[in-house]
Symmetry: C2
Subunit: 370 residues, 2 copies
């Protein structure tokens, strides 16, 4: 039996633990022991999708034996992270008369977690919430820190709330059923933590490419744990993103624009972020914030992990900039970028030369993926 | 020039003032001086309705001179406190590209305030929020305490959030343009504060019926101020309604059922609450929690203030109970009532005899308003 790692997210009265282990779904009694202290009452609504439910709902039902368990399935894919799905879930909760002491359990990836979290934040002005993320991306990013949201046709995550769960349960073995492309996309956020916060972790990732690609349990557990620790530290400093927390958006200002303009689904979120990180690093170099040579190093690590570093097809430059302008990182008209000063250190700034931004966008449009 | 009273709502880092005065809209520079410290940035979206806008928007525009001010009008009436209106407002904010440092100003009554507050709580995961309530009901109740919500066909306020404003600005002179029936409905909540918390205030209300009905400035200012003080004290004890705050629902469990079954609009909220308070007091007497004789005293005060104490038409008993069952005050199947132990003191309990509840409902169905 392998160890359970606990990462504390320190947010005063909203503090909660992230429990990381490899045996929760194989051992329903252990799963029950982890989950029960996090439930607000006797009623549970599990929000999930059909694919995930087929794998993990039976064990979860056993673990929750004796409680009233309602299951609400939403469609699979980013297009279901919408006000329409939100309204349907609310209709269901109300029709089934779940009360204020209910707990919403998000069983799935980022779409399920973000939507379920926004539901939990706003059903009857807030009910219990537990995250059981089943993708690498949601384990190291979206399940930690309390950001919940749905998308709008005007942009991603424009409607949502900050709402912290009572706990996050991460079973690393679920990643073996994840498609390889989605697993790689999750590694993009793991790499991000190295770039923004921890040069040693970046070096460790470079040295452990094969172990990570092979999902070796020890490497996987360390990568997830260190990612959660870094995110938890940043979120504890700045829960509502008034300052430091914005560093977590490294690569995302570019990445969100790539996603918006390509139509949701053309790139996985992590793939768009991977390219966005390379763009942000290149932008940092061109602005002389960062020595030359880091962009190829990042591109090489991403490539080794099965991630893109170049756009697949050209994107209109002005549309790209307009898309970044609707991004939430804008304060009174000026885009705020997260730029790198070194591997392991980034800054938030709205000081940039617009002409160089144009050149960066042109450069990536000229050098497309083969 | 009359005084400005300030009531502090003490919620730690979410604390904010309620400013009460009689001259804000007559003096745009004073209005500006009050509002500016509460704004998060240079962008303001005023959510209001056409009736209110005609009266007060010009002064507000003068007060906000130099800022970008967008105005979003919603329909007048409880039916517009809906997910549909919410979605339309979100569409507009996104189309007009308001950013994360925007401030939502709610200029209107409870429908505007509750909807605008839920918008502020969830637009880009939360933006600035200021309440300028223009009805007596919203001045003494819905603008204070951070409850925001929209209705659902399954019940009132089922979708929402707790979200505190940066400040609340109350101009008592706006009540002169309020229809008499709406003014009276607001007094129902004022009476409630006496019943649940302050027997002396209840006695003061009995002694000042004529002054209140005549909107004498001193009486009005004291009634509003004392109401806000009591609500602020209760909310400071229990921001998220895990205990004490539920006493503010006195009369509301019955009142919401009256509203639901009669169709929104048949009774004003305050009218339904007035009848609901009489039902709750009568229920308290029948359960021997309270001495006989208080129900007529309450009914007399309500009547003197132009409020009903009896149902206008019969309501099906079982439908009534089912409607209360969907109410948010239910914990795991049992209805929690706020019942009176004396004028000025109430308790929250789920100990009651279902047969006596039936008799209370039958009694009110037999003794309808003439």
């Amino acid at each position: 039996m392998s160890a359970i790692y606990s990462v504390a997210v320190d947010l005063g009265e909203r503090s909660y633990p992230i429990q990381i282990g490899a045996q929760f779904f194989a051992d329903p009694q252990l799963l029950r022991a982890q989950l029960l202290p996090w439930l607000a009452g006797e009623q549970v609504a599990v929000i999930t999708n059909a694919t995930i439910a087929a794998h993990y709902l039976p064990a979860l039902r056993v673990a929750l034996d004796g409680l009233r368990v309602e299951v609400i399935e939403i469609g699979d894919g980013e297009q279901h992270k919408s006000l329409t799905s939100y309204t349907e879930v609310m209709d269901t909760l109300i029709a089934r008369r779940l009360n204020r002491s209910a707990t919403i359990i998000a069983l799935g990836g980022g779409v399920v977690g973000d939507l379920a979290g926004f539901v939990a934040a706003t059903y009857q002005r807030g009910v219990g919430f537990v995250q059981v993320p089943t993708t690498l991306l949601s384990q190291v990013d979206s399940s930690v820190g309390g950001k919940t949201a749905v998308n709008h046709e005007g942009g991603k995550n424009l409607i949502g709330a900050f709402y912290q769960p009572a706990g996050v349960l991460i079973d690393t073995t679920v990643l073996s059923t994840l498609p390889a492309r989605e697993f790689a996309a999750g590694l993009a956020e793991v790499v991000k933590y190295g770039v923004i916060y921890d040069a040693d972790f970046f070096t460790w990732l470079e040295a452990n490419v094969d172990a990570l690609n092979g999902q070796e349990p020890q490497a996987l557990a360390y990568g997830i744990r260190r990612s959660c620790e870094i995110k938890a530290e940043v979120v504890a400093e700045d829960e509502r993103e008034s300052g430091l927390r914005a560093i977590l958006n490294f690569g995302h200002t570019f990445g969100h624009a790539i996603e918006n303009l390509s139509g949701y689904g053309a790139y996985l979120h992590g793939e768009a972020v991977a390219i966005g990180m390379v763009m942000a690093l290149r932008f940092s170099e061109r602005l002389h914030r960062l020595d030359q040579g880091h962009t190829p190093r990042l591109a090489q690590l991403l490539g080794a992990l099965g991630l893109p570093a170049k756009l697949q097809g050209a994107l209109d430059r002005e549309a790209f900039k307009a898309s970044m302008g609707m991004d939430k990182k804008v304060v009174d008209g000026r885009i705020r970028f997260v730029l790198a000063d070194a591997i392991g250190k980034v800054s938030i700034t709205d000081h940039y030369d617009d002409q160089i931004l144009n050149e960066i966008l042109d450069e990536f449009n000229e050098h497309l993926a083969a």
